[in-house]
Symmetry: C2
Subunit: 119 residues, 2 copies
Amino acid sequence: MDTVNIAAKLAQIGDHWNPRIIGEVNDFQVKAVKLRGAFDWHHHVEEDELFLVVKGTLTMNFRDRTATVGPGEFIVVPHGVEHQPVAEQEVEILLFERATTLNTGTERTARTREQLERL
Amino acid sequence: MDTVNIAAKLAQIGDHWNPRIIGEVNDFQVKAVKLRGAFDWHHHVEEDELFLVVKGTLTMNFRDRTATVGPGEFIVVPHGVEHQPVAEQEVEILLFERATTLNTGTERTARTREQLERL
């Protein structure tokens, strides 16, 4: 029941596409992560995924359109929907999603992160 | 899959202690709400509750201590834990919690809000 300062958690992160757990709400987690560059296209079979931008501008590519998410904005990607997060410049975000959510979706790749660190 | 601007949603709210749904993530909801004054002591039997402060300073009273939550900070109140949110001045927050979460916890009072509006 400690107060969590989001910027202070993000300041501890020095790499990209490597989510850290900074909060837990029942079976959901809050993850802090820095993004830079283009991630792989993927989808999640069961989990919806909320991206809340703290700093920078996130581009979310879908197969039929593109969304832009700036600071103080969020987007929810429903399960089953293919998406590709792109950060042309560094972006700092929070993810709100089920603890079971794998960052690369249905594929395990070199970018898959499991057993996430808690900050 | 639209981008949601949090400040724009909060700007539509003219009352207090009346959460609006601004996002859904599986069985969880993101709610926007303005607070002013002291709410009733309550707890939730099953639902943890995340309070993320956008503007102002939230005081969260527990039976044995008090936490302060400012802009860019959040606190998670675990299920079963009695708490009293207090906003000495107006506070704007997001709640992230299961859709089943009743604002007054185990009691239904004049402050209970059900069938929440979607903004």
